[in-house]
Every structure is written in structure tokens, then in C-alpha cells.
């Protein structure tokens, strides 16, 4: 354990050092100006202290962000909009719903592509083209169109997540469903197994390692999708709304706290996926 802890610790310390140096460098002009305006002494130590203690810094220090996170998480009930957990849950709900929808769509498309030659030729270019459209451009359109037919709240956000999530799943599963060893396929034939049986008992389990690789990519982008989906809705709740209101009022500390929360959310979901992978595939060998 110590062997793994040491490089991680060193890297974390280096990043923190870079962050503090960056914060000092970026906040320096503003800090010096504040001190000059207040006619207070502006020596090196004074400016540095001021740069690390500003209310609206260009780049807040890690300790400011941690304090903001701590105050938000412990100062209010988890159901209060002032608690980041509330916002994280709103975002997670949309991200997980979108991930589930993307998973279903991705597997369905992959099965279609693997089993139907015409779909491979006709569908795959569209699947790839769909990912070349900037999500920031299409997200408001999805929200507007779905809002127009009466769908608001969670669903438009989930659809945006799905739009981002299905792609890695489709690509991974097309490869995964084709990964069965020819002998394994012959074996199914000697049992005169039906196509559906061969799918359930051979192609699908054989594709699982590919699915989990894709899923980890999809989890990360599903959180991004949910946050992007929260921006055009005006932002009542969710980490995206928090980011938006933070940028309206120049609350950089609040923005950074929400960013850290978003990455913690991704890490948590990826850990769950990894756990699932270990339970499902871990015992089946050195996969």
C-alpha cells in the first residue's frame, strides 16, 4: 500500500504547490490594487496574504475551496439548496438516468450493427456524425424541443446525457459482440443453439470486458452532459445551475466548489462501475 501511496502523495503535493503558485500569480495585481486603495502596506508578505484571502479571487486557493465545500456540506440540511449534496443529487439523477438510457440505446445499436450488415453500412456513419456536433450547441435545442412537447425537468437533461453516452457504448459493444472466439461460436453451432441463445450465452458475456471499458468513459461524460443540460434551463437546481449562478455573481469559490463536487460525483460513479466489474468479471480470471 505504501508503495502506491507514495507516488500519489508526491503528485498531489506537486499539484497543490502549482495551484498555490498559480493563485498567487493570478490574484497578485488585484490584491496589490486593493491594498494600495486602502492605503495599507504592500510588502511581499502582505500582498501574498491578501492574494490568498480574497472574496472573489481569479483563482481561489485549495483551502478556500475546501472550506466552501465543508461549510456547504455541513452547514445546511442535505435537502437545502445551499447544500452542494442537494445539487450533486439533482445532477446525479439526470446523469444516471441518461447513462441507463445511453446504455440501452448503445447496446441496441451495437446489436443491430453486428447482426445486420445493412445497418452497419447505413447506421455507423450517422452514429459517428452525431458526435461531431458540439453538445453545447445542440443541448439548448433538445431542451427547447422537449419543453415544447411538455417534457421538462429531469428528462431533457437525461436525453442530453444519453446523446453523449451511447457512443462509447456502441463502439465498445460492436467490438465486444464480435470478440467471441471462432471455436466458441462453432461450439454453439454443434449444440444447434438458436441465435438468441448464442447472443445471451456467448456474445453478450464475451462482450462484458468491452462494455465496462466503454462504461467508464460514458460515466465521466454523463456527468458533463447533465451539467451542460442544466445550463440552458435557467438553473434552478443541480451542479450546472450552481456553476451558472456562481459565474453570474463572480463567486469563483462557489464555482470551484461545484467543480470539485462534480468530479467527486464522477469518481464515485466510476468506483461503483469498477466494483460491479470486479464482482461480475473479477472471479472469471485475470481480466
Amino acid at each position: 500500500m505504501t508503495r502506491r501511496a507514495l507516488p500519489v502523495t508526491v503528485m498531489t503535493l506537486l499539484l497543490l504547490a502549482a495551484w498555490y503558485i498559480g493563485a498567487a500569480w493570478l490574484n497578485w495585481p488585484q490584491a496589490a490594487e486593493t491594498l494600495a486603495r486602502a492605503n495599507r502596506p504592500a510588502g511581499f508578505a502582505d500582498v501574498l496574504a491578501q492574494a490568498y484571502a480574497m472574496k472573489r479571487p481569479i483563482l481561489p486557493t485549495p483551502d478556500q475551496v475546501v472550506v466552501e465545500l465543508w461549510n456547504s456540506l455541513t452547514g445546511y440540511a442535505p435537502t437545502s439548496p445551499r447544500n452542494l449534496l442537494f445539487h450533486a443529487w439533482v445532477t446525479a439523477e439526470a446523469a444516471l438516468t441518461g447513462l441507463a438510457m445511453g446504455l440501452a440505446l448503445g447496446i441496441l445499436l451495437a446489436a443491430g450493427i453486428v447482426y445486420t450488415r445493412t445497418l452497419e453500412a447505413s447506421l455507423l456513419p450517422w452514429v459517428i456524425a452525431s458526435q461531431t456536433i458540439p453538445i453545447l450547441a445542440i443541448a439548448p435545442m433538445i431542451v427547447v424541443i422537449l419543453g415544447n412537447i411538455g417534457l421538462t425537468g429531469l428528462l431533457p437533461k437525461a436525453v442530453i446525457c444519453m446523446y453523449l453516452c451511447f457512443f462509447p457504448i456502441t463502439v465498445g459493444m460492436v467490438k465486444g459482440l464480435r470478440s467471441a472466439d471462432p471455436l466458441w461460436v462453432d461450439l454453439m453451432r454443434t449444440y444447434s443453439a438458436s441465435g438468441l441463445r448464442a447472443f445471451w450465452s456467448l456474445r453478450l458475456p464475451a462482450s462484458m470486458p468491452f462494455l465496462f471499458a466503454s462504461l467508464k468513459v460514458s460515466v465521466a461524460i454523463s456527468v458533463v452532459g447533465a451539467i451542460v443540460g442544466e445550463l440552458p434551463t435557467g438553473g434552478q437546481a443541480g451542479l450546472g445551475a450552481r456553476l451558472l449562478s456562481g459565474s453570474y455573481y463572480g463567486q469563483t469559490v462557489q464555482i470551484w466548489a461545484a467543480l470539485i463536487m462534480a468530479s467527486l460525483l464522477s469518481v464515485a460513479v466510476i468506483a461503483v462501475v469498477r466494483g460491479l466489474e470486479l464482482v461480475l468479471l473479477g472471479r472469471a480470471g485475470a481480466r
Binding site: 471455436l183 454443434t190 449444440y191 450465452s201 456467448l202 458475456p205 462484458m208 472469471a284 480470471g285 481480466r287
Partner: protein
């Protein structure tokens, strides 16, 4: 368990290669006809970009019930192709073949044979026991019976206690034994084996050969066994089919009834064994020029 002595059937189908016995007679005979596999003028030609490759050329072969038949020959002689045609994994381009009086496809759909591949081909995400249960699952057999039959077959190949292990936790020889147990779990009358021990070391191979011959004697199944080892073919077989490449054809069919039905490893030292091995070697030499 009682089963007909294959020696009786040797008389019945005395002239095998080039026999004028019609395939139709096998078709009309009852399910327990003495003939399990009958091929007449069987050919298989693969179309390729430059010129067609003849994998099998006018092969005539009769396999009697209870026989242990080895197909032997150098690489490219069509021995695996012939086995795959019997299993309906390949379709012949000319000629006739009947399995228990049926087409290979009908036989496959009725799951009449068990197939053992060159590699164990175990599904890595299934435990040993669930690998053996796979064919039974597909046949729709109830869970309790599936398990009982899997355990019985694993015991038969000497792998009791390994039910819950995953394939990667087993040695190559053990994995191949699991794949034999899986083929036996179907309880087929016909066992098709494609160089099952080809990738194993000689000591393991000897051990598994002994095991296989005892298994064959105990179950009375008809076995078709592809190999490129002369010693293995002579040790296991009641009949040896010598094949030759370009095009794939049968050169010689050798009866091994000078050897006892019960085989032990020391029969390999006997003059009868040497005589058969010599004839196989001569046959292989005839069909294969070593200068190409």
C-alpha cells in the same frame, strides 16, 4: 452398461473403403444401425482468389458403431475438414454423407454428437461446472439434473472437486478434460475429437490417452479422432484412416484388431503395435513427398 461389441460389426461392414453399399441403405435402416457414419465420394472445394483448393477429394468412409477411428495425416490433408463435415460445421461440395441415416444437419439439430476442439474452448466467464452444464442448459434440461449430469461427467474425467474453479485456474490438460466432460454431458453416441491433445506435453498426453481409451471402453461410444501422432493413433484406435494432402484423400484404412481391445501403455512395446505403426508410417510416406 452393455453395448454391442464393435467386432461383430466389423464383419458386417467388412469392406469399407470402396464398398458398393449404397448410402440409401443406411438411411432406411433403424436408429441402431451398425453404421454410424457413411460417406460416399465426398468432396469439398474451397473457392479462393487464385485457384480453388480441394480440401477433400472423393472420400469414401464407413464408421461402424462402437469403433474408435483415427484420421491421421500431415497438415492440409483434410482430416479436420472431414470431421467438420461430419459435424455439419462445413458443407461438402459433392458426394453424400449420412450420420445415423440422416444428413449431418439433421444429426446436428438432433444433437447426436459431441465435439471436442483442438483448444479446450471453455467459456472463461463460466465455472468448470457451468461450462459442462452449458449444452444441457441449451437443451432445456432442469437445473437439478443439469448439475447431476455435469458432476457425473466431471467425476468420469477425474475432475471432482474442481466444479467451482474457473478455467484459468486449471492446467491445459485439465481444461481439455473439462471439454471432454462437456462433450460427454450431452450423452451422444458419437464423439468427434479434433486433435484434442495436440497442444499438450507428451507425459500429459500419454496420461490422457490412457484415460480416453478407458472412457471409450466404459461408454461404448463411437469415436472419430483426428491426430497427427502415429503412436497416439495406433494406441487408441480400432481403425486408422491414413490421409494425404493436395488433394485431401484417403490412402489406406488399417484395422487394429491384432491389438487387444483393452489397451495399456505397455502395448506400445508389442510387435503388433510396431507392425501397425510401420504400416501407418509407410502410408504417410506414400502420400507425402518431403521435398516440397
Amino acid at each position: 452398461m452393455t453395448f454391442p461389441n464393435p467386432l461383430d460389426f466389423w464383419e458386417a461392414s467388412a469392406s469399407r473403403q470402396g464398398s458398393d453399399r449404397a448410402v440409401s441403405s443406411a438411411k432406411s435402416s433403424s436408429a441402431k444401425s451398425p453404421v454410424v457414419v457413411e460417406a460416399r465420394k465426398l468432396s469439398l472445394v474451397y473457392p479462393t482468389a487464385d485457384k480453388p483448393v480441394t480440401a477433400l477429394s472423393e472420400v469414401d468412409l464407413t464408421i461402424a458403431r462402437g469403433d474408435f477411428v483415427s484420421l491421421i495425416g500431415p497438415s492440409g490433408c483434410g482430416k479436420t475438414t472431414l470431421l467438420r463435415v461430419i459435424a455439419d460445421l462445413e458443407r461438402p461440395t459433392a458426394g453424400q454423407i449420412a450420420i445415423e441415416g440422416m444428413t449431418p444437419e439433421q444429426a446436428r439439430l438432433k444433437r447426436l454428437y459431441g465435439y471436442v476442439f483442438q483448444a479446450p474452448a471453455l467459456y472463461p466467464w463460466r465455472t468448470v461446472e457451468r461450462n459442462v452444464m452449458l449444452p444441457l442448459e441449451i437443451m432445456g434440461i432442469a437445473r437439478a439434473e443439469r448439475q447431476a449430469r455435469a458432476r457425473e461427467q466431471l467425476e468420469r474425467v477425474g475432475l471432482s472437486g474442481f466444479e467451482r474453479k474457473f478455467p484459468w485456474q486449471l492446467s491445459g490438460g485439465m481444461q481439455q478434460r473439462v471439454s471432454i466432460a462437456r462433450a460427454l454431458a450431452l450423452q451422444p453416441d458419437l464423439l468427434l475429437m479434433d486433435e484434442p491433445f495436440g497442444a499438450l506435453d507428451e507425459i500429459t498426453r500419454d496420461h490422457l490417452n490412457l484415460h480416453l481409451t478407458q472412457l471409450w471402453r466404459a461408454t461404448g461410444k463411437t469415436c472419430v479422432f483426428v491426430t497427427h501422432s502415429i503412436a497416439e493413433a495406433v494406441f487408441l484406435s480400432t481403425r486408422i484412416v491414413v490421409m494425404s494432402p493436395r488433394p485431401g484423400r484417403i490412402l489406406d484404412v488399417i484395422d487394429c484388431n491384432s491389438l487387444p481391445r483393452e489397451r495399456t501403455l505397455d502395448i506400445r512395446e508389442s510387435p503388433e503395435f510396431a507392425a501397425i505403426a510401420h504400416r501407418v508410417r509407410e502410408g504417410l510416406k506414400e502420400g507425402h513427398s518431403y521435398d516440397d
